[in-house]
């Protein structure tokens, strides 16, 4: 297991960036079954519109407080939900490692998700920020808490794949 306090900042930044890259790659490359594995068992994954987050209101597009719920999301979208075939492409920037607090790395970053539907044109689907709390585990860094605050509060048709 990594000793967080022994890491020099550049190492920590590298490890965090790697986790974030793994996160967007498993979504964008449609390896969604791997997505829950980037979280600890007792995690929080929340996708919330900025208009609610700014008012301190809880209504979320997705609210999962265990890795099991993340797995269920993936299983549901593979086997239960009906939606148009689409691709996501995340563009991630401003990865800002804010510090380490009680064994958790606090990170904020920006994302843009481009969506390509079967007709072939690519559109900006959603933009926002990630507020992450990341912990060290025997398997490497994992998300303890990932709050996705999306600026694009009008969702075109539906939001099925995680952001």
């Amino acid at each position: 297991m990594l000793d967080l306090s022994a890491l020099v900042p550049v190492d920590l930044h590298y490890q965090v960036s790697k986790l974030l890259s793994d996160y967007v790659e498993c979504i964008d490359d449609d390896r969604l079954e791997e997505w829950p594995q980037l979280f600890v068992e007792d995690c929080l994954y929340q996708v919330i519109a900025r208009e609610n987050a700014d008012r301190g209101l809880p209504t979320s597009a997705m609210y999962c407080d265990s890795r099991g719920m993340l797995r269920d999301r993936v299983v549901a979208l593979r086997h239960a939900n009906i939606y148009a075939k689409h691709y996501y492409r995340h563009v991630l920037s401003n990865v800002n490692v804010k510090g380490v607090q009680d064994g958790e790395v606090l990170v904020q970053s920006n994302y843009v998700v481009l969506q390509t539907l079967v007709e072939g044109d690519t559109k900006v689907f959603n933009a926002g920020k990630y507020l992450d709390r990341i912990v060290a585990t025997p398997d490497g860094l994992r998300f303890k808490r990932k709050v996705v605050v999306f600026d694009t509060y009008r969702i075109p048709n539906l939001l099925v794949t995680p952001l």
Partner: protein
């Protein structure tokens, strides 16, 4: 004058007198969209605009729409609620440029004309000119230049507005069935939990059909059905008001054990889908009548829902012939304890544009709209339950959809 070109309604052919076969042109013809704005949204109908709980204090306001007309809903100092078109009486600029907020008065940023919370004009800069030059005409009367006001009324915390001077009072417009359903859900003070906005590339009436359709819900929404949140084999009803413009479907979870054989010819059970964490389905009854699902569709633009412990109003805002916005405002009760708050929070995964049991409705609308752009005189075929606008003590019916179309034809002035 706002004279709107009268579309030749006769150019679309309804093959039957009733509402069981709908020419696709009603979903795609821009002239029909214009006429709907005039006869439905600015006609004798009450449109839902807000929950009272969204604007609890003096000066609170919310920007919204009646049909596609921008409207501000505002609470005045005396507690009364007002609605007016979001358009300055001077040159037409929007006076409210935020979704919501709290103000002492509304001031247009363009030339700073100011209005009180009831929409009356209270200030015009340079009214008497500057240094004896310029200024408004001597006979300028502030009272004649207020914002365009709508009639407003509220029922059990739901605020409605109308452009019509002739529509019946709100409670009469709603009628006994919707009032009873609203009374049940709004029986205790509520707390707003937040909003979700879903933008759907289809005609708004496809969603009006969808919410009057108990038949699709257990076939399209596999998550719903697999976990017994809703199945057509459950006890439930599909009922309408006397004019068949509003409708309600209800279901009772846990009433179809051993009676689900009818699903053998569907894709519904062709899955070994189980939940790793079933806590999303855990809840506590909000009501003691056993009803676990209510979809109340109030003509023309409101859906009031109870799905398990999720409570919400959905406002339908038409944005043109081929798109509409759905604003979900979720709420709980003011006396919810922390356990109940957590339940509603987690069950929020079921509803809205990312909802495990509701996301497909936008998809259903879009796959219809994309396929009907040609062959405008060809029609849908709505026959489940007997091709009639009838109430049913079961859920294998499309009767409420037919009722909607029959009322729609009447309001639009289409010969029966």
């Amino acid at each position: 004058m706002n004279a709107i070109r009268e579309p030749a309604l006769g150019h679309l052919r309804w093959p039957t007198a009733g509402g069981s076969q709908v020419p696709y042109g009603v979903f795609t013809d821009p002239a029909i969209y214009e006429l709907e704005q005039q006869r439905l949204f600015r006609g004798d109908a009450w449109s839902f605009v807000a929950l009272e709980a969204e604007i609890p204090a003096s000066g609170d306001y919310k920007s919204t729409f009646v049909g596609d007309s921008p409207v501000v809903v505002s609470r005045a100092e005396d507690g009364s609620i007002h609605a007016y078109v979001n358009r300055c009486a001077h040159r037409g600029a929007a006076i409210c440029r935020e979704l919501r907020g709290n103000v002492q008065n509304h001031t247009c940023v363009y030339h700073q004309w100011a209005y009180d919370l009831k929409g009356n004009l209270i200030g015009v800069p340079f009214r008497r000119g500057l240094n004896g030059q310029g200024g408004m005409p001597a006979d300028f009367d502030m009272k004649k230049h207020g914002l365009q006001k709508l009639r407003v009324d509220a029922y059990a915390g739901l605020v409605f507005a109308t452009f019509s001077d002739s529509v019946e009072p709100l409670q009469d417009y709603l009628g006994p069935m919707p009032c009873k359903a609203i009374d049940r859900i709004m029986s205790r003070p509520i707390t707003v939990l937040g909003d979700q906005r879903q933008y759907v590339a289809g005609n708004w009436k496809l969603y009006a059909e969808n919410t009057r359709d108990p038949y699709h819900a257990s076939l399209l929404h596999l998550f719903h059905c697999t976990f017994g949140l809703y199945r057509s084999s459950q006890k439930g009803v599909s009922v309408m008001d006397a004019k068949r413009r509003h409708s309600m479907l209800t279901a009772m979870r846990g009433t179809d054990e051993g009676k689900v054989d009818g699903y053998q010819d569907t894709r519904t059970y062709n899955t070994d889908f189980t939940l790793a964490d079933p806590s999303v389905l855990a809840g506590k009854p909000d009501f003691d009548d056993g009803v676990t699902l209510v979809i109340l569709a109030v003509f023309p633009n409101l859906v009031v829902q109870q799905i398990a412990n999720t409570l919400a109003v959905r406002q339908i805002i038409p944005r043109g012939v081929d798109k509409f916005e759905l604003v979900w405002t979720q709420f709980g009760y003011a006396d919810d304890d922390s356990e109940m708050q957590a339940i509603r929070n987690k069950q929020g995964n079921l509803i809205g544009p990312a909802g495990l049991i509701s996301m497909e409705d936008g998809e259903a609308v879009e796959i219809v709209h994309r396929s009907i752009i040609r062959d405008q005189d060809q029609t849908s075929y709505i026959a489940m339950g007997g091709e009639q606008a009838k109430d049913a003590e079961h859920l294998v019916t499309e009767g409420s959809i037919i009722g909607f179309w029959e009322y729609y034809r009447e309001v639009m002035g289409w010969a029966a």
